[in-house]
């Protein structure tokens, strides 16, 4: 009687230490909540009430806060990760959607979708320090690993704008396919990937030459091209594998980071938009807006191993470093 139970406990403890203990925060756009997931148990351990229409979500670099853009409240809320309560706000400008921090975690760059603007916020002072005029409906935000170049994508202008973070000026703009949603640099800064939701492609841009050097296209057997709508992009630290969330196609594409060929399509929940790796890159969590759940992808095995119900219209995901 006792032995198997004890063994079970021991095994689960081993599993715990092996997997590491991370916490994932999911923004639920319609519920106006953030679901907190324990990545050991793959369970929602808490649901935090936040402002209206939470979308973009990220940890501050010091891990003390989770920032969540609540677009309809025109602000970014700060959740204290110790108490899991909203404790403060950042002056984001109107309708914040996605944002990104510089590598030091001092500056926050926010896409204001309704205002054709990128707002720059000093996180410590919690004050706006500038803004940059960009194209129509700014959304995707990427930053080069050295923090020198900020990239914003504008959905109706169909461009990736390259912004010099020291002068806060648009240096150049690169045309991509229709409705660019997301921008991600490789860790070595050699490539910038930009997803075009309506165009159905991911543009691989040379960040020095400012040229589209390759377009990744997607084809899922038995599916028409229309629902294949790339949004979120996550590239492993070694740059070898990219994951692209394909929206209403309900699949995540696994892309070879070197050849840019699609290696596999993973079936996840419905309308998959954004994703995040656990810090050890063992797992990738995807937010599935229509099925109101999060899929867990085993990155090594390239398999979906679990699904967790969260709030309504899960949009973004952020995972702790520890």
């Amino acid at each position: 009687m006792w032995l198997p139970l004890m063994l079970g406990v021991c095994l689960s403890m081993i599993f715990v230490s092996e997997a590491g203990a991370f916490t994932a925060y999911i923004s639920n756009e319609r519920s106006n909540t953030v679901s907190v997931i324990d990545t050991n148990k793959w369970e929602v351990i808490k649901t935090i009430k936040v402002g209206q229409r939470p979308r973009g979500i990220a940890f501050t670099k010091d891990q003390k806060y989770v920032l969540v853009a609540v677009g309809d409240d025109d602000t970014i809320q700060m959740i204290d990760t110790g108490t899991n309560q909203v404790v403060d706000t950042l002056p984001s400008g109107p309708d914040p959607e996605l944002f990104i921090q510089d590598p030091d975690g001092k500056m926050l760059y926010v896409a204001n979708e309704d205002d054709n603007t990128v707002t720059i916020i000093d996180i410590t002072r919690r004050a706006q320090v500038g803004d940059v005029q960009v194209g129509v409906e700014p959304e995707g935000m990427g930053i080069s690993p050295d923090g020198k170049i900020l990239v914003n994508t504008s959905e109706t202008t169909n461009m990736a704008h390259f912004i010099d973070t020291s002068t806060r000026k648009v240096v150049t703009s690169v045309l991509v396919d229709a409705r660019p949603r997301f921008a991600a640099f490789k860790q070595d800064g050699s490539e910038l990937w930009v997803s075009s939701e309506v165009g159905g492609t991911v543009s691989v841009i040379d960040p020095v030459k400012h040229e589209v050097k390759h377009k990744i296209e997607f084809k899922i057997a038995g599916m028409r091209p229309e629902p294949i709508q790339p949004v979120g992009i996550n590239i492993t630290r070694d740059g070898k594998t990219g994951f692209v969330a394909l929206g209403p196609a309900n699949h995540v594409a696994v892309v070879d980071g070197t050849t840019h060929q699609v290696m596999k399509y993973l079936l996840v929940g419905q309308r998959v938009w954004h994703m995040a790796f656990t810090p050890d890159e063992k797992y990738l969590l995807t937010t599935n807006g229509v099925s109101n759940d999060v899929s867990i992808v085993d990155v090594g095995a390239l398999k979906v191993i679990n699904t967790i119900q969260v709030g309504q219209l899960p949009w973004g995901v952020a995972i702790s470093e520890h």
């Binding site: 979708e113 309704d114 054709n116 194209g135 129509v136 409906e137 504008s154 959905e155 109706t156 202008t157 169909n158 461009m159 704008h161 648009v170 703009s173 045309l175 396919d177 229709a178 409705r179 939701e197 309506v198 165009g199 159905g200 028409r224 229309e226 629902p227 709508q229 209403p248």
Partner: protein, 394 residues
């Protein structure tokens, strides 16, 4: 005689140029009608800037993009009265360098203007006329259609009703020509998707005012009389583009049945309540600029101007033929808040687009409906498909 609503809305000089080189200027003409249709509901009364406001917003959007590409766009709008000569107006604008025209004109007027403009290389984007003939026997190589055709609207509605298994339709048709054309489209859709028109009735326009002080008393007794003794039906479909009777039907029919078509559940390209797929951003932008809600005509004009802006941005030229070729080509795609890209049918120059089904408060559904399959694009289940098209582009 000619009412010039707005001349060069955004002065070219006001646009900051990205470099020392002079910006590529793209003037666009907007030809609308001065006459406004009388509607039954006050809420449906078109604003004076209905349509042109959408074009103006798209000009703003094009110029936001244009400042990064050193391109600038402007629109000049003319609202034509019956006695005005549309050809003369178009030529006048063309004389000032305008090659692209957004039109909200009756089919006959559009054809006359487009044919006259052809030898001058003028390109027309039809944002207003839903006539099937413009996409079929009277199609033109220099006329693009952004407005959905009657066939597309009727198919969008029919797919939804059939998916609901509301297959028995009582069709009530107005006595004006556009009503009859819409009824013909509905008949075709019923046959195509397996609905049955159990009976047709004609609602004669007896004339008179749409608004009277005690008109409701009469209507409340007229409509039940008009709709009684029909064979069993699931839904009443009204073809009343002329706005004579359809809005009076809901809640007044003899039998308790829903209404669709020109009232009740209405197939449309756009509705003020549409907020999916990022549409809320466009709705907000529109309301901020014009202090009213965005109509289908506004959206069609917005789409038309954005198509030109998108093509000029990609081609980096304002050459009308190159722009037209690009829009017709495989690389053209427009994002217009409909959840998928909009492209052009190369056989009749009709913009492929989903059809929204609106009840006046919310979007009830969006067609194509699930399960209506097509070997090329599900959007081609709406309207005249390539094999049935009578269009021979010349």
């Amino acid at each position: 005689m000619i009412r010039v609503i707005s001349v060069a809305l955004l002065a070219f000089a006001a646009i900051p140029s990205a470099s020392a080189a002079e910006a590529l200027k793209v003037p666009i003409g907007y030809l609308g009608r001065a006459e406004r249709i009388e509607t039954i509901s006050l809420l449906d009364q078109p604003a004076a800037d209905d349509g042109i406001a959408g074009a103006q917003l798209a000009i703003q959007d094009n110029n936001t993009t244009g400042k990064f590409l050193n391109q600038s766009f402007a629109v000049e709008a003319v609202h034509l009265k019956d006695q005005d000569d549309p050809v003369a107006v178009a030529m006048q604008l063309a004389g000032r360098g305008t090659l692209f025209f957004i039109t909200d004109l009756p089919a006959e007027t559009l054809l006359r203007t487009a044919d006259a403009g052809r030898e001058h290389g003028l390109v027309f984007v039809n944002a207003g006329a839903t006539d099937e003939r413009l996409r079929q026997e009277d199609c033109r190589a220099n006329v693009i259609h952004v407005a959905p055709s009657r066939f597309m609207l009727a198919d969008g509605l029919a797919q939804y009703l059939v998916s609901k298994r509301w297959r028995r339709w009582l069709l009530v048709v107005g006595s004006h020509e556009p009503d009859k054309l819409y009824a013909a489209a509905l008949r075709r859709s019923a046959g195509r998707f397996g609905a049955k028109i159990v009976q047709e009735r004609v609602f004669e326009d007896a004339g008179g005012a749409r608004r009277t002080d005690s008109g409701l008393v009469q209507i409340q007794s007229q409509i039940p009389l008009f709709t009684q003794s029909a064979p069993d039906y699931d839904i009443l479909i009204a073809a009343d583009e002329s706005q004579v009777f359809a809005p009076y039907l809901p809640y007044r029919t003899s039998e308790p049945r829903p209404v669709a078509g020109s009232a009740g559940l209405v197939p449309t390209s756009w509705d003020a309540s549409h907020d999916q797929w990022g549409a809320i951003q466009l709705q907000n932008r529109f309301k901020r600029s014009f202090s009213r809600r965005m109509t289908a005509l506004d959206m069609q004009a917005w789409t038309a101007v954005r198509m030109i802006g998108e093509a000029v941005g990609r081609v980096q030229s304002a050459d009308a033929q190159r722009i037209l070729d690009f829009i017709k080509g495989p690389d053209f795609a427009l994002a217009a808040f409909k959840g998928r890209k909009l492209t052009l049918r190369d056989w009749d120059l009709q913009l492929r687009q989903p059809i929204l089904l609106a009840d006046g408060r919310v979007i009830v559904s969006v067609s194509p409906q699930e399960g209506f399959l097509h070997q090329y694009s599900e959007l081609d289940t709406l309207g005249a498909d390539r094999p049935e098209s009578k269009c021979r582009l010349k």
